[in-house]
Symmetry: C2
Subunit: 148 residues, 2 copies
DNA sequence: CTATATGCAAATAGTTTGCCTGTTA
DNA sequence: TAACAGGCAAACTATTTGCATATAG
């Protein structure tokens, strides 16, 4: 049930998946491609609908499995906003997320938490390993919609 | 079905609830008290079990409703860690959460994101309204457990 | 031929809602 | 006795899992 192998799978994707003992299947390729095509941080369900345009037989469970594999092998990041559905992001550069309170959009900002937080000291005894910074506010469009 | 009114309800709690048109019921008081008693960021279910020790008849749905009221009126903060159950925090000072990867504990750090991020500039057109900073790492106990 | 992965459907976790009843002002 | 709230159970959403089948190597 694996269909045809993708014609031009970037070696790195295959290699990345191999690091967790997984192969590159057409579905995994398709799911990753959907994320690359429009990096607007879709939910699993949104990925499912977009992937179906190309592979109508793909199932939601498979999309979840593929996303999980892509996350585990380091090709994709998960973005959790409150309790709503997890969103997915193929941008693996360290960056900050901007959540627009107006339209609900998520934008990538080229800010690293580490840069911004250079002077930050942890309390004695705590060891910080990963800083995560998120920003809420209004995006360009929502601001002009408000003022205009 | 409201039982006995709490003997010494701080006026501020009553007032806060009033701002959203809600009264202070014994259950709401109890749920808030549970959070104050041990500010270890329990889940709704954990709050439920602790509240039952004092009011065995309280229901989980009521705990959810009470927590929701407390959050909406500004007495309690929600803390979302990945997809796991929402945790609750009665500390309304601006602060940063430290997530221990060792024990899963959540600790309040007296760091404000705003202080740390004074120099941060948003891309042109974006308006930052709320910065949220979270830190992952190892807490004191987990470090000594590792080394020791 | 065998390991791996898919698709489907059922299960699960966390949370919310509807409805009826009880309590308080 | 009206308005508000609680308790219970059912509903709901997002996600995961079990299982039979299909495919690639």
């Amino acid at each position: 049930m694996m269909g045809t192998a993708p014609t031009a799978a970037p070696a790195s994707v295959t290699e990345k998946l191999a690091t967790i003992g997984f192969g590159l299947t057409p579905q995994r390729h398709q799911v990753y491609q959907v994320l690359l095509d429009r990096p607007d941080h879709p939910t699993a369900e949104e990925v499912f609908f977009r992937a179906k345009e190309t592979r109508p037989e793909i199932s939601l469970a498979t999309v979840y499995n593929c996303l999980d594999a892509l996350v585990r092998c380091g090709l994709v990041n998960q973005v959790n906003v409150d309790r709503s559905a997890t969103r997915f992001c193929p941008n693996m550069r360290e960056h900050t997320h901007f959540f627009c309170e107006g339209c609900g959009g998520i934008f990538d900002l080229d800010l690293t938490a580490a840069d911004a937080l250079g002077g930050l000291e942890m309390p004695r005894g705590f060891k910080a390993m990963h800083l995560e910074l998120s920003v809420r506010g209004l995006c360009r469009d929502c601001i002009s919609r408000q003022t205009g």
